[in-house]
Amino acid sequence: MTESEPVPLSSPAQPGPAQPDRWAHLRRHTDARIALGHAGSGLPTAAHLAFQAAHAQARDAVHTPLDAAALLAALAERGWPAVAVTSAAPDRATYLKRPDLGRQLSEESQRRLSEPVRAPDVALVVGDGLSGTAVQANAVAVLEALIPKLQAAGLRVGPVVVAEQARVALGDPVGALLQARASVVLIGERPGLSAADSLGLYLTWEPRPGRVDSERNCISNVRVGGLAPAAAAAQAAALLGAMFAQQRSGIRLDSPAPAAPPELPGAGAP
C-alpha cells in the first residue's frame, strides 16, 4: 500500500486482537462509519487513524479561501451578471470569532449594491460560508439548473452576488439593498469528516435585516453523493413558487417540499 491510498476501515479475515464486524456488506447503504470492528471496546488502529486523517482534511478545508475570481469568471462565461461583495469581517480569523460581522456588508459593498437597479423578484447570493470548497464544487451547477426554472416561471432574477466571509443572514442586507422580494443564499456548510464540500440553500421571503431562522427554508447537503444540484434547484424553485403564492417563508409556509431548517441549535448553518 502506498501512502496516498485510503486506509481500509477494517481488514476481514486478518487474525489479531482487532475484531472485524460481520456486517461490512451494509456499508453499501451508507457513508456512515459502520462495521468498524473493535479492539477491546476501542477502535482498531486503522479505523482510528482513518478518522484522524479525515479530521485533518476537514480542518484544512475550513481555512481554504474561496477563489472568487474563478467563480466570477465562470458566471461571466454563462452570461450572468455578477457582483462581488465582502462582509464586514476582514479576514478568516475574525470571521470565525465574529459571526455578527459575517452577517453585515462592508461599507464598500453596501455602496456597490446601492447603485440603482431594477428590483429583482429573486436575489441570488453565493457565499463562501464555512467551506469555500463546497461553493467551488456545487454553486454553478445549482445556478445552471435554477436560473432557467425561475425565468420560465416569469420571475426576474437579480445579478448573482458573490460574497466572501459570508454568513447565511448576509442575504438579508443584500436582499434589502436590491429591494428583492425573495432571496436564495447558496453557502458552504460546516465541513464534516466525510463531506467537506456540502452546499446549503437558504430561502427567505422579503429578505430584510432582522429576519430570524424560522422565517427561512433550508435545503441542505447539496453535493455529489448527497442531494444532487439539479434536484436541489428543483426543490428551491418549488419552494419559491409557494413563497410567491403565500407571501411568506419558513415554518409558516405550507409547502409540498422540505420546510424548516434542521432542528439543532446552531443547525450547522454557517
Binding site: 475484531q19 464486524d21 460481520r22 456486517w23 456488506h25 451494509l26 456499508r27 447503504h29 451508507t30 457513508d31 456512515a32 462509519r33 459502520i34 462495521a35 468498524l36 473493535h38 477491546g40 471496546s41 476501542g42 477502535l43 479505523a47 478518522f51 484522524q52 479525515a54 479530521h55 476537514a58 478545508a61 470565525l96 470569532k97 465574529r98 459571526p99 455578527d100 456548510e189 460546516r190 465541513p191 464534516g192 469528516l193 466525510s194 463531506a195 467537506a196 456540502s198 430570524v212 431562522d213 424560522s214 441542505s220 447537503n221 453523493g225 448527497g226 419558513g250 415554518i251 422540505p258 420546510a259 424548516a260 431548517p261 434542521p262 432542528e263 439543532l264 441549535p265 446552531g266 450547522g268
Partner: protein
C-alpha cells in the same frame, strides 16, 4: 440592585444581577462576542466573591429578564416552590456551594430541593465551582424517567442511537441502527435528525422503527427530531410518535426564533400524552439545548450564555421530559472556542439541569472549525461519566454524516461503561439477551445472524 467588591485595593462595581452573573462567569468566547465578559481575570474573581456573598433568596427578587416581557421568566417565578426552597433559604450563594458539597446534600435532599431552585440560582452557584465540584454534586443527584424502559437508575449510563443519513434513506439509516444495536447502543432513544423536515419523512422513518420494535419486542422509544409543528401534523395523521422533540431556549424571544412558545409546547405535550404509547411510564418529551443558541438568534436579552442556558431547564421541567441533552460543542467556536471551554460548559449544563431535576444527557461533540479534537471529547466523556450523566449520543464512528460534526461513537459508550462499570437501562439489557445481541453473561456477541434484528430491518440479504 448594584453590587461591589474590593479586591487588592480595587473596587469592582456591578450595576445589577445579570451583570454580576456575566462578569463572574468563567471565560468563553460567546460572552466576549456579546460584550458581557469580565474585562480582566481580577474583575471576574471580584464578581465571584460578590456573588458568593449574595443571599440566595435575592435571586428570587431580581429577574435577569423582565417578568412582564418574558414568558420564561413568568414560568420561573410563578412556578417557584417556596416550601421546597426553605432548607437553603437562609444561605448565601457561597454558603449554598458549601451545603451542596456537604453530606447533608444527599440524593433525597437534592430531589426534594429541586422545585425550590431556579435556573438563576443554580447558574450562580456553578460560577463559583470548579469542575470537581460540578462533578461531585451532580453525581449525588438521582433523576429517573420512564417510557418503555427506565432511564437514570444508579450504575446505569444510557445512549441515544443517532443513525442520521444525509438524504434520510431508510436503508442507510437501518444499517446504522443495526450497527448501533450490535454495539449495545439505543436504550435512551433511537433518535434520527431528519435532513428534510417533513411529515412524510418523519412518518416513513417512524414506521420503520415501529416495525423493528414490534417484531423484536424491544423496550425502546423512537424519535424523529423534526420541528414540533411537524410532529403535531404527523400525530394528526396517525404516525407512531413515541417521543415529541423540540430544541428550546431560555428566553421567550429565542424560543420564538425556534418557532415555538410554551402554548405550542403545551399543545404538543398533550397530543403526545393522548397517544398513550408508553408502557412503564409517560415521560415523553425530548428537549435539546446548548449554550449560545440565544445569542445566535440575537435574543439573549443581555444575559450571559451559561445563565440563559440554565433558563432552558425551567422550560424543560414543565413537561417532565424523558430526556434532555445539551448539544455542547455543536454551536461553534464563536460561543465555545476550544476543548477547555466545551468541557466546562458540558459539566455546567449537566450540573445545573440535574439540580433542577432533569434527566440530563450530553452530546459530547465538536465541529471542524472549533479548536478541539478526539482527546478533548475523551476527557469530557470520562468526566461526565463520573458525574453520572444520564445519557450520551451513539453515532457510527463518532462521525455524523448528516449534521457534519463529531459526537461520541458506539465504541466510546462501551469504553465509558467499561471503565466506570456502568450498564444500559435494565429492560434494554434484558432484551439484548433475549434478542441474541448479548450472551447470557451480558457480553455483546457482534453477530447479527444470531440476533432477531435482521428480519425486522429493511436490509436486503447479502448476495452470495
Amino acid at each position: 440592585m448594584a453590587f461591589a467588591h474590593t479586591l487588592a485595593g480595587t473596587r469592582h462595581q456591578f450595576p445589577d444581577l445579570k451583570t454580576l452573573l456575566a462578569r463572574a462567569s468563567p471565560p468563553r468566547s460567546g460572552d466576549a462576542l456579546a460584550g458581557l465578559i469580565a474585562a480582566s481575570a481580577a474583575e471576574r474573581v471580584a464578581a465571584q466573591m460578590a456573588l458568593a456573598d449574595l443571599p440566595l433568596r435575592h435571586v428570587l427578587t431580581e429577574a435577569v429578564v423582565p417578568y412582564e416581557a418574558d414568558e420564561v421568566t413568568r414560568l420561573i417565578v410563578d412556578g417557584h416552590d417556596g416550601a421546597a426552597f426553605a432548607p437553603v433559604a437562609h444561605l448565601t450563594v457561597g454558603g449554598f456551594r458549601d451545603w451542596l458539597l456537604s453530606e447533608a446534600a444527599d440524593a433525597a435532599a437534592l430531589t426534594a430541593l429541586a422545585p425550590g431552585l431556579t435556573p438563576e440560582m443554580v447558574a450562580a452557584v456553578s460560577k463559583i465551582m470548579r469542575l470537581q465540584d460540578l462533578i461531585a454534586v451532580a453525581a449525588k443527584t438521582r433523576v429517573v424517567t420512564r417510557f418503555r424502559n427506565t432511564i437514570g437508575l444508579p450504575g446505569r449510563l444510557s445512549t441515544r442511537l443517532q443513525p442520521n443519513h444525509p438524504v434520510d434513506d431508510p436503508r442507510g439509516i437501518a444499517a446504522s441502527v443495526l450497527d448501533g444495536l450490535m454495539y449495545g447502543s439505543g436504550d435512551a432513544v433511537i433518535g434520527i435528525n431528519p435532513a428534510t423536515d417533513s411529515v412524510e419523512t418523519m412518518t416513513t422513518l417512524l414506521e420503520m422503527l415501529e416495525e423493528l420494535r414490534l417484531r423484536t419486542g424491544a423496550p425502546i422509544q423512537s424519535c424523529v427530531l423534526a420541528h414540533v409543528t411537524t410532529a403535531l401534523k404527523a400525530m394528526e395523521r396517525g404516525a407512531p410518535v413515541d417521543l415529541v422533540f423540540q430544541s428550546i431556549a431560555g428566553t421567550e424571544a429565542a424560543n420564538r426564533a425556534f418557532g415555538v412558545s410554551l402554548a405550542l409546547l403545551d399543545e404538543a405535550w398533550e397530543a403526545g400524552k393522548a397517544l398513550n404509547r408508553g408502557t412503564v411510564g409517560d415521560n415523553l418529551m425530548y428537549f435539546e439545548t446548548g449554550q449560545g443558541s440565544e445569542l445566535s438568534s440575537g435574543a439573549h436579552e443581555g444575559v450571559d450564555q451559561q445563565t440563559v442556558e440554565a433558563r432552558c431547564y425551567a422550560v424543560a421541567r414543565r413537561y417532565r421530559p424523558l430526556l434532555v441533552n445539551t448539544v455542547v460543542g455543536f454551536i461553534g467556536p464563536e460561543y465555545l472556542y476550544d476543548g477547555k471551554q466545551i468541557t466546562r460548559a458540558g459539566l455546567e449544563d449537566h450540573f445545573c439541569a440535574k439540580l433542577l431535576g432533569l434527566p440530563m444527557g450530553c452530546d459530547v461533540c465538536y465541529t471542524n472549525h472549533a479548536e478541539a479534537d478526539q482527546d478533548d471529547m475523551d476527557a469530557l466523556l470520562t468526566l461526565l461519566g463520573v458525574a453520572g450523566c444520564t445519557f450520551i449520543m451513539g453515532v457510527p464512528g463518532a462521525d455524523d454524516i448528516m449534521l457534519n460534526y463529531q459526537s461520541t461513537s458506539f465504541h466510546d459508550a462501551l469504553y465509558v461503561r467499561q471503565v466506570l462499570g456502568r450498564r444500559p437501562a435494565p429492560e434494554f439489557e434484558a432484551w439484548q439477551q433475549a434478542a441474541g445481541i448479548a450472551d447470557s453473561a451480558g457480553r455483546l456477541r457482534f453477530d447479527p445472524a444470531a440476533s432477531s434484528l435482521l428480519p425486522a430491518l429493511p436490509l436486503p440479504e447479502e448476495q452470495p
